[in-house]
Assembly symmetry: C2
Homo-oligomer: 367 residues x 2
Amino acid sequence: MVQLSLSRRLRRTPFSDGVDAAGVKAYTVYNHMLLPTVFRSVQEDYHHLKQAVQIWDVSCERQVELRGPDASRLMQLLTPRDLRRMNPGQCFYVPIVDETGGMLNDPVAVKLAEDRWWISIADSDLLYWVKGIAYGYRLDVLVDEPDVSPLAVQGPRSDDLMARVFGDRVRDIRFFRFDEFDFQGRKMVIARSGYSKQGGFEIYVEGSDIGMPLWNALMEAGRDLDVHAGCPNLIERIEGGLLSYGNDMTDDNTPHECGLGKFCNTQTAIGCIGRDALLRVAKEGPVKQIRPIAIGGDPVPPCDRHWPLLAGDKQVGRVSSAAWSPDFNTNVAIGMVRMTHWDSGTELMVQTPAGTRPATVMETFWN
Amino acid sequence: MVQLSLSRRLRRTPFSDGVDAAGVKAYTVYNHMLLPTVFRSVQEDYHHLKQAVQIWDVSCERQVELRGPDASRLMQLLTPRDLRRMNPGQCFYVPIVDETGGMLNDPVAVKLAEDRWWISIADSDLLYWVKGIAYGYRLDVLVDEPDVSPLAVQGPRSDDLMARVFGDRVRDIRFFRFDEFDFQGRKMVIARSGYSKQGGFEIYVEGSDIGMPLWNALMEAGRDLDVHAGCPNLIERIEGGLLSYGNDMTDDNTPHECGLGKFCNTQTAIGCIGRDALLRVAKEGPVKQIRPIAIGGDPVPPCDRHWPLLAGDKQVGRVSSAAWSPDFNTNVAIGMVRMTHWDSGTELMVQTPAGTRPATVMETFWN
């Protein structure tokens, strides 16, 4: 790790005072905003996430709001996922593609009403693409970034903690659905979702001023549940196969290469800007794809650049995320592998800064 | 300062190996890429920049390339600066605005040919806006991010160093002009420009593979000139009044608020998307504007959030960048001030984390 120079350009969040007080040890930068990465240690945070409950400042999941009569039409322009049967109250994971089928972001779309959406974005200025398209198409829609900052509650005790603050009705929210709740007289959208496989919720906090009161209320209510400030955990998200835009894929990749074909309905997603470009790959499949990779040997160093995957002396892919997993006693990784070598059980070699290691293509992620 | 967690998402550059070897002490993140902020110390780097010559890895100034018959039309859509008299070989600083006149970026446009431009961007994914507009307007133009990484040579000895590597012809480049030069058989665009007031050049390095050979050649050639790895310097850029997008202005601000009215020709910039929105403010002027601010007392802490500027108990602006200047023996700062209080000599108070301090609106920046 190296030092990060702070400036106003790396935006603080409505919860930053709580994050500071909880003793954050490291950050990354995500959508021009501070995103905590370590509180106690990546391994301690990992064990705690799987056993208890954590409050995550994921304000960096900024919202792109679409509002107006053309909002739903615009949303369908952006993605090859067919949105016709999506109802208000649902969240959809939607690959966003450009006219070549390259992924520009992999957000969660939140349908608030027929004429109002939030797109809860990964790390790229999707606002610029959506505004450009809306303007170029002369759509009747307002596109902007509202003052909405998600706060995630993740871990096996999430339901208990959330019920104490928002009432038992919060337990009834189904996966990737949302409902509205009251906190100190303020309406909050709460979804059962989040960037871990340990269960939990995301609270879309509207209005920065209510951020710290909510943070404090959750911390207070969860004291005997061993609640702690946390953050997306590198080890847990790789084990769970949760992709990271910018790490595991970029605008060079189609959704199919990322294993996101199941979120594409390219035939029926009429209007989608990338539809023409994706029809062929949707039918025939990609020639390389994301795979879970196990890397042998001691814990690997941080993966801050692509590590080549080799079959003999031929490069057949690359690893883009990797970490030592204490629970599975191996290095877990996410890689992109050519179809000639992507069958599970294939033995490859991977070039890491700690030397060349054996790597195995796995059948499934570790969950 | 805090720790930064590295990952592939925070992209390394073609010069990162050189930056590492030179002992970089801290980074920021800019356009999803690592940008060094400190080598020896911010103050040591500052004195050295003003006396000698530095090599800066500013790869994070990514390029948006426009290529094709509609390239020049697209470029004019993006900015209120009139580009009709701009010739190939020129660089223009161009505010980029959306349909409301809000600034999306403040890049340098490099006109390579009538049908080919590079836009050398500040910290936002301008590529997404330009692609969205080009697609929405169905323009005949290719828009992408080429493998071009700027390397800056800055400081009073820049001409001497550059002449040793590229020949004496480099001395003839005029300010904000560029020409093509050869390095090891590779063509490089070199402009007299850069994010300091100490003079120098920016080399647009095409092809990542030639990055380290060029870095090493410059370091080798400049040994007796006291060349050192450097980076944009917080103190020097505030003294010089060089704005930083995301720090000093955002998409909330018009170019006029940023004091960039001199780069706008709103009447004649026919086609500019933000033209309608800007006509009135171009004529009547903004109600708040960027001003140089001197802050009294001891050196201020890092400015990682807006500091309110007060007249009595009324907020009349905010400071967005600040640092202690050894050469001018005061805290230098950049602020946005309402017109009621923006006259030079106006005495205000500023709320910093180190307490409330006297602040003076200055006539000019410190250069």
